[in-house]
């Protein structure tokens, strides 16, 4: 039986390497999991790491390499800039090389445009797009009267910009009284010291910061905040990334840092928590990407449904497919734009009241993620402008 190869195109060197490596380990764990249960339709699943250095052009080199090596599935997540390039590549490749179609499974590039104006039939996204997350986040923020002055700080590229503009738009609609006291964009993965930004946040008198920063950009931001003793509430997409929890604990921001995700370690769902436990034991990491679990498991389900590992058939099977997600609840792959919809969680980081119910801490800080709010699939829907071109 030939193996099903999935090209993992993400940074394995340079500024994004730590995130990329985490993702790689996750996917390799998941492949092992599938293989242990007989693989996909009896095919062994293999993850092929392809380093793109967080660079769109390099990603295309890697994607082309994948194609040349006969790989039919690629997955990528770190960076919407890369995501856009890959989506474009896959679309062109599939129209020019019929019979050699390539599917692109997106597990984290959440720029909404990828499932709107740029949408492609060959692209499927398991992470909630940034506008979905912002919708959920602002719904929560709306009910926090203590929020009066908000500071936005984001990475200067498509994803950061969409976080920023969505935050502005949605806050203005939901909480017109909230003042945006700062709106910062900084270069992606290039800042070594965020102290100047922290000084600015401090000077602005903000009580809350909204940021989509990821990778070292969030870790260093939180670290600089800790050093300066900046005490504000943080509404983040990725504060749980490596280094983040340590910095939060250091600042003593007990349950003041919020994160919006499609799953949390202490979700209370037995299966998910067992999975988390095993994952941590084997990989020595927290599960940052519950959606990757959904992606891989759903891939298997779709292949079985199509009874084929041919990408064209798998794509057809994935469209509109419903699936029970890791943390419980049902999600589905919307056929209109190939965006997966699932329950969304807002959690805060801090002391864990009940160690039995919430056993997982982060980075040995003793603190962990605590569920604050859960948004059901139905409430986590956004419209799309995608005009899907089907083959």
């Amino acid at each position: 039986q030939e193996t099903v190869k999935i090209g993992y195109i993400d940074p394995l060197s340079g500024g994004g390497a730590s995130v990329g490596e985490g993702g790689l380990k996750t996917f390799q764990y998941l492949a092992d999991e599938l293989n242990a249960k007989g693989g996909v339709l009896g095919h062994k699943v293999e993850i092929v790491p392809l380093d793109n250095k967080t660079n769109p052009q390099e990603s295309l080199v890697q994607a082309q390499k994948a194609v040349d090596a006969g790989i039919r599935y690629i997955t990528q997540g770190n960076g919407s800039s890369v995501g856009a390039a890959l989506e474009d590549f896959v679309t062109k490749n599939n129209s020019r090389n019929p019979g050699k179609e390539l599917l692109y499974f997106n597990y984290a590039a959440v720029d909404p445009s990828l499932t709107n104006e740029k949408c492609s039939y060959w692209h499927f996204r398991w992470d909630a797009s940034s506008d979905i997350k912002m919708e959920a986040l602002t719904n929560y923020m709306k009910d926090q009267p203590s929020i009066k002055k908000v500071y936005l700080i984001n990475q200067d590229y498509s994803f950061g910009q969409s976080v920023r503009s969505d935050a502005r738009k949605m806050l203005a609609a939901k909480r017109p009284d909230v003042q945006i006291v700062g709106d910062e964009l900084h270069p992606l993965l290039k800042i070594t010291d965020f102290s100047p930004y922290i000084a600015k946040i401090k000077a602005s008198g903000a009580d809350s910061v909204v940021t989509g920063n990821w990778g070292q950009d969030i870790a260093l931001l939180l670290k600089a905040a800790a050093d300066a003793g900046l005490k504000v509430n943080w509404y983040t997409y990725y504060a749980g990334g490596a280094g983040g929890p340590t910095a939060i604990k250091q600042t003593g921001l007990d349950h003041q840092v919020y994160q919006i995700t499609e799953g949390i370690p202490n979700s209370g769902n037995k299966a998910a928590m067992d999975f988390e436990k095993d994952f941590r034991a084997k990989v020595n990491l927290s599960l940052w990407y519950p959606r990757a679990v959904n992606e891989m498991r759903m891939f298997k389900a779709a292949a079985e449904k199509a009874n084929s590992i041919d990408p064209v058939k798998v794509a057809a099977a994935l469209e509109g497919m419903k699936f029970d997600v890791l943390d419980g609840g049902e999600g589905f792959m919307r056929a209109d734009d190939h965006q997966f919809f699932q329950p969304i969680y807002i959690s805060s980081f801090g002391t864990l009241a009940d160690k039995a119910k919430e056993p997982f801490d982060e980075e040995n800080t003793g603190w962990g993620w605590h569920l604050v709010s859960k948004i059901d699939t139905a409430n986590a829907m956004v419209p799309t402008t995608c005009k899907m071109k089907r083959p």
């Binding site: 060197s13 390497a17 730590s18 010291d193 100047p196 000084a199 000077a203 050093d227 490596a242």
Partner: protein, 315 residues
């Protein structure tokens, strides 16, 4: 406003001092030996990782001494077994050697320690706010960094004044055998200089590691800007590097602190214009161009004053 100015000044000075700590070693090497050491930032990274590892084994203070020595030893080995043989083939060859070395070091570090950031913490003895200005804390650790940088600066200045090492190296660049005929052991001096330069980078790593990230890509982030510092300050001039570090630290910090853009100055452009380079330029904030400023400065300085701020020679 006053608050922002005071704090930005402090931040700028602190960042500048870190830059100096890093660039002092590079200045020593570059100005004396003419080697554009692209692996300098890698030695910095090695310093951080050695520091991290030793701190876990024997504690921060011994690590502070030992790690730079280790890095210095690595540097000496590099000089002895690599650069020395390459020297006769010219500066480009030397430079590429260090280029290759930078790759190798990065991969070795990520092989040994992985690619995720290390949990390298500030020693407990220094983990308290030294003082508070406008309710912003200044961690004692940062003050410690400042003190170390200034100490290094003074010590290096004195060492360079007192010893003839600088002269020997400079003379050996053009006529190495003549220097030997005068009774100086050129090989050992070169090795020593390179070792000291690397050790300084290592020291910067040990110190900066806990305060910034200790991660396998940390070399790439600071690499290019170091060249800006030493060229801007003037090749061969330690005070130049000191001033340039401070200036660049301050400029970058203040640029971030400022909010201005052409749009905020002259009002927004007609929204009907659509995206164009003009609108890009119009709307970009000073903070956004902060990362570019050092390079702009570099180019301008080289055009108008090729020997740099305090330099005396061009190359």
């Amino acid at each position: 406003m006053a608050e922002l100015i005071v704090i930005s000044t402090l931040n700028g000075v602190l960042f500048g001092m870190l830059l100096f700590l890093l660039s002092s070693g590079l200045t020593v090497i570059f100005s004396m030996m003419g080697v554009l050491n692209f692996a300098h930032a890698s030695f910095y990274m090695l310093g951080a990782f050695f520091g991290y590892q030793l701190t876990r084994w024997i504690g921060f203070w011994p690590a502070l001494v030992l790690a730079p020595l280790l890095v210095g030893a690595v540097g000496m080995a590099v000089e002895r077994y690599g650069l020395r043989n390459t020297h006769k083939h010219g500066h480009v060859a030397e430079l590429l050697l260090t280029f290759g070395l930078a790759y190798a070091i990065e991969e070795i570090v990520s092989m040994v320690w992985g690619k995720s950031p290390m949990d390298y913490r500030i020693p407990a003895a220094l983990d308290f706010p030294a003082f508070t200005v406008f309710s912003t804390n200044y961690p004692a650790y940062k003050i410690f960094m400042l003190v170390v940088s200034v100490t290094i600066f003074v010590a290096l200045l004195i060492a360079l004044k007192r010893t003839r090492v600088g002269l020997i190296v400079q003379a050996a660049l053009t006529h190495p055998s003549m220097v030997g005929h005068l009774g100086h052991n050129v090989g050992r001096v070169f090795m020593l200089v390179f070792g000291v330069g690397s050790a300084l980078a290592g020291l910067a790593g040990v110190i900066a590691g806990p305060s910034l990230v200790t991660q396998s890509d940390m070399a790439g982030l600071l690499g290019p800007i170091l060249f800006v510092v030493i060229v801007f300050g003037g090749l061969g001039s330690l005070p130049g590097a000191f001033i340039a570090s401070l200036l660049i630290g301050l400029i970058q910090t203040f640029a971030v602190a400022l909010n201005g853009s052409l749009a905020s100055l002259f009002g927004p452009l007609d929204p009907g214009l659509g995206p164009s380079p003009l609108t890009d330029i119009w709307n970009v904030t000073v903070a956004q161009i902060a990362p570019i400023l050092p390079y702009l400065l570099l180019v301008l300085v080289l055009i108008f004053r090729p020997m740099g701020l305090l330099g005396t020679r061009e190359s």
